[in-house]
């Protein structure tokens, strides 16, 4: 690096052309361009960062060396969920989203980026079929943000300030939502009974100051809300909006919330074609009916079909752009920015591959394996199910005499991640299509063995 600094990422570090360009703009050196940066704000030393690895092979060896410390869920038997799920991702999904044309596109217009507009319109449309609603947004950051925005929309729509939450909410999600809506909404908890909503208690607390009833289904514990219709009717009776937070994975077999009266359905699409990525690949959807009162409250971009000069040809464009912060800054609806479009394309490809039968079969498989795991685990002495609700993919178990963290530690030594610790005696267990019956049997045997060992040590 003692010679003139030339880097493959920066073409005009080539000395001749750099000199030519400086001459063209009559500058002696690049520092001239910083005339507006006061001298005392200039950093008069090199940044104190490690020596670089400009040769690609050295860089690759360095980064791979760091990442090689990780042990994957392919090397461990994992029953971890709690918002990030180990679903199988079809190869075609990965193939499509790693295409340079999608991966490195950004803010092109509907002409030269027709494909991106169509792919995202199709994502919206496929999700709409799964959710049985007519409007779905271009993805926002994640399901946390989607719920927070869904509640904010309800607040703006109703002009009211109370939210009643009737489900158990993932704590991290609850943290995000509360801080996000803090300026406009107060969230009150209506405690669940046996895993799902206490509809009677909800009815008592509803009033015409309630902006929204917030339902999570499946909930933090994987419980499916089976009384959504009653909740919706009660909420609508006082003019409150029903906001649902969900995971769309089950709607090949389960009735989607819209058919039980939900007004705003939000959730995360990580389950639909995205790898776990250490929890770093999420995207949120917000679905509503095709009602301008609702649509005009959505902050995200909405891609719509439109006609062109050629009869029968489909063009695409932004629906109701005037809602957005791009158009109106603080007078827009919340804000719109770079969020998670690529993951929307992934989910679209995933749903195109799965089709109705795939989603139905997957839903059934998840229900069956969840039930199976519940049976196997609760058959172990000292282990009981956390509640009696219908569960999809996740459920909790309680240990009558063991500590959940201790149990996790014991099973990790066997290469098993048995679940996420909820509290000292409760574990949140997750099964997907990647956890086979044999895997579940292995978990049950390992838990039984660990509890036995514990008993013996205690005896």
């Amino acid at each position: 690096m003692s010679e003139p600094f030339v880097h493959p990422y920066i073409p005009n570090t080539a000395p001749e052309v750099k000199a030519e360009m400086l001459a063209a703009v009559a500058a002696a050196s690049a520092s001239e361009f910083y005339a507006d940066v006061p001298a005392d704000l200039r950093l008069h030393r090199p940044l104190n960062v490690p020596a670089p690895l400009p040769a690609e092979q050295d860089l690759a060896r360095h980064v791979r060396g760091i990442l090689a410390q990780n042990r994957t869920t392919e090397e461990r038997l994992s029953f971890l969920g709690a918002g990030t799920y180990n679903h199988y991702v079809p190869a075609v999904v990965d193939e499509v989203i790693r295409r340079s044309e999608f991966l490195t596109a950004y803010a092109g217009e509907p002409y030269e980026d027709h494909g991106r507009f169509q792919a995202l319109f199709e994502y919206q449309s496929l999700m709409a079929e799964l959710l049985a609603m007519d409007v779905v947004n271009v993805p926002t950051y994640d399901g946390y943000q989607a719920a927070a925005t869904g509640l904010s929309m309800a607040g703006r729509l109703t002009g009211r300030g109370r939210v009643l939450v009737v489900s158990d909410v993932l704590p991290e999600k609850d943290s995000k939502v509360r801080d996000y809506v803090r300026a406009a909404l107060e969230i009150e908890v209506v405690p669940t009974v046996d895993g799902t909503a206490d509809v009677a208690a909800l009815r008592e607390r509803l009033g015409d100051d309630v902006a929204a009833v917030w339902v999570e289904t499946p909930s933090f514990t994987g419980a499916v809300e089976t009384r959504l219709r009653e909740i919706s009717d009660a909420a609508h009776a006082v003019g409150a909006v029903v906001v649902v937070g969900t995971d769309p994975i089950g709607y090949g077999v389960l009735t989607p919330p819209a058919l039980h009266g939900a007004d705003i359905v939000t959730g995360d699409i990580q389950s639909l074609g995205l790898h776990q990525w250490f929890g770093g690949a999420h995207a949120g959807f917000i679905a509503v009916h095709d009602d301008p009162r609702f649509v005009m409250e959505m902050p995200s971009r909405l891609f719509g079909l439109e006609s062109t000069d050629v009869p029968g040809e489909y063009g695409f464009g932004d629906v109701a752009y005037d809602r957005t912060s791009f158009a109106h800054r603080e007078d827009g609806k919340e804000w719109v920015g770079t969020a998670a479009a690529l993951w929307g394309i992934a989910a679209g490809v995933h749903l195109s591959l799965m089709g109705p039968q795939g989603m139905a079969e997957l839903g059934e498989l998840l229900l069956a394996r969840t039930r199976y795991a519940q049976r196997e685990l609760s058959a172990i002495p000292g282990v009981a199910l956390g509640d009696g609700a219908l569960h999809l993919r996740e459920f909790t178990v309680r240990f009558s005499s063991a500590s959940a963290p201790d149990l996790v530690a014991a099973l990790r030594a066997d290469g098993i991640e048995p679940g996420v610790v909820v509290d000292d005696s409760t574990l949140l267990v997750c099964v997907t299509e990647t956890t086979s019956a044999a895997d579940i049997d292995r978990l049950a045997a390992a838990i039984a063995a660990a509890l036995n060992t514990r008993e013996e040590q205690a005896a």
Partner: protein, 519 residues
């Protein structure tokens, strides 16, 4: 390609992928779980997703991809403010490994040391680059990072009992709109400062606006005009003087890495966009990622979870009571964390400085070339250098020909170039914003300018050709008026079929009649 909408490709019975069957042992143990669902919980009919064999699904999306211009394919100078850099392919290769893809955030930290080390390393690099004390990589986008900034500022004032009193945020008109919008969501009244006659942020106007009600100033610098605020330190000092915090939107940092740092100008908090300044790809509009960097005073307010290094090992800690909590799942967008780390390590201090300097050289070279085109101008700060981008104007050309900047943009696409027409705010008339970054060669910049000059010539000589563009794209001139009319907009295929063909799907349900809601 004249590729249909995916629903039009459906053939009954085709399968795109198969799902494992329920194991016999499971079936025997649990019976027919679908039939056993409680009343009303079983979906009446399957969702009307298309049925398409695998190769055709692949072909569909590959064809759509080809109808798209990624920055790998074109000379992406026209997406000003977006900082379209080269996203090195090695960085994509580095993340596409099971060691990241198949990693769950709740795994034993002993099994995720590599990921945690990456987070820790990039935090340290970002602290040095910004001059700040502590960094969080949790925010999943640039605007999300701006939200994290204002959420921390709100928590800071609340912790000091000034939450009620300080209900105003000040920004500038050429700062990214998300600064204003996020402040609004956080409950603040937004005050916007316009530039002085030279296009520089107006220090006098700021001072007039500041008061004990001010929670923060939230500014981008250089602004989207490419103009660096030479009085930035005075801005920060003025804010501090009334007890307000100073928040720095570093979305436009691509020209100043290693030149000047946020903390050195006194800022309390700032955010960088990993998908712009640090080369992570834009993904058709996300995922993005931000690095939020703060002074020691604001560190307790950073979102959680936090990664710490203890005895050479990396541990995860929940954030403390003052923290704003979680802003997204887990630790943020790890893909971009690794990519940004790899980009910085490929360049080092000398390389980042060179990247900034060449980005600025490219921009000033481009400025000179664009100004040679009759009808183009660069409002504000006439004759002065710019940093990494310039907001130009076709006002003169428009007055002479009636051709708008948007029409020129559409015609540019016929030549295979992007040209972004969103130039919030619309203060500059007939605007266009170009940002060449350090990644384009002189030859490519010249190529772009030539096309621009050609279209400007066409605007004078054959304006109809420009007005009726595109002539060379997948689709033809579209009718945007469909999109703003609730009776005609079609946000999904099912809505389109229902509104235009009267096909009401079996699972259609009408919006609730929120009788009381309007009240």
């Amino acid at each position: 390609w004249d590729e249909p909408i995916v629903f039009e490709l459906s053939t009954p019975g085709e399968r795109g992928i198969l799902i494992p069957s329920v194991e016999p042992s499971v079936r025997e143990a649990v019976g027919d779980v679908v039939a056993a669902l409680p009343e009303g919980m079983r979906r009446p009919a399957p969702p009307a997703l298309p049925e398409i064999a695998q190769m055709r699904v692949l072909k569909h999306y590959l064809r759509l991809s080809q109808e798209n211009l990624g920055s790998d394919l074109n000379v992406d100078i026209g997406q000003g403010t977006c900082t379209i850099k080269y996203s090195p392919k090695i960085n994509d290769q580095l993340i596409e490994v099971p060691q990241l893809r198949a990693l769950h955030p709740a795994q034993d930290p002993a099994d995720t040391q590599g990921a945690l080390e990456m987070l820790w390393r990039l935090e340290r690099l970002m602290a040095e680059i910004s001059g700040m004390d502590a960094v969080s990589l949790a925010s999943p986008g640039g605007s999300a990072g701006i939200w994290t900034n204002i959420a921390m500022i709100r928590a800071y004032h609340a912790s000091r009992g000034e939450g009620e009193q300080r209900d105003e945020v000040i920004t500038t008109i050429f700062s990214h709109p998300s600064n204003a919008a996020a402040a609004k969501v956080a409950g603040y009244k937004v005050i916007t400062i316009h530039p002085d006659t030279d296009g520089y942020p107006d220090l006098g106007a700021l001072k007039a606006a500041l008061s004990e009600r001010t929670a923060a100033i939230m500014v981008t610098n250089p602004e989207d005009t490419g103009i660096y605020n030479p009085a930035i330190q005075e801005w920060v000092e003025a804010a501090h003087a009334v007890g307000a915090l100073a928040s720095y939107d570093q979305a436009n940092a691509a020209g100043i890495l290693g030149i000047t740092r946020a903390r050195d100008a006194g800022f309390d908090v700032c955010q960088f966009n990993l998908h712009k300044t640090f080369s992570a790809p834009h993904g058709s509009g996300g995922p993005g990622a931000a690095a939020n960097a703060v002074s020691a005073a604001l560190e307790p307010f950073l979102p959680g979870p936090r990664v710490e290094r203890v005895d050479g090992r990396f541990v995860v800690r929940e954030a403390g009571d003052l923290s704003i909590g979680h802003v997204a799942p887990a630790h943020g967008v790890i893909l971009h964390v690794v990519r940004a780390y790899a980009w910085i390590m490929a360049l080092g201090a000398e390389g980042m400085l060179a990247a900034s300097q060449i980005a600025v050289l490219n921009n000033n070279y481009l400025l000179q070339r664009v100004l040679e085109i009759p009808g183009a101008s660069a409002p504000y700060a006439t004759g002065r250098r710019r940093i990494e981008q310039v907001r130009y104007s076709w006002q003169e050309l428009f007055e002479q020909t009636g051709i708008t900047s948007e029409e020129i943009g559409i015609r540019m696409a016929d030549y295979g170039f992007h040209y972004w027409t969103s130039h919030h705010p619309y203060v500059v008339p007939q605007p266009f914003t170009l940002e060449p970054t350090e990644c384009y060669s002189k030859a490519e910049i010249d190529e772009y300018v030539s096309a621009l000059a050609q279209v400007a010539r066409e605007a004078r000589e054959t304006p109809e050709l420009v007005r009726t563009a595109p002539h060379n794209q997948t689709v033809h001139h579209t009718h945007h008026d469909d999109l703003d009319d609730p009776e005609r907009w079609a946000i999904t295929w099912r809505a389109y079929r229902r509104k235009y063909f009267g096909e009401t799907p079996a699972d259609f349900s009408a919006p609730a009649d929120l009788a009381g809601a309007a009240a």
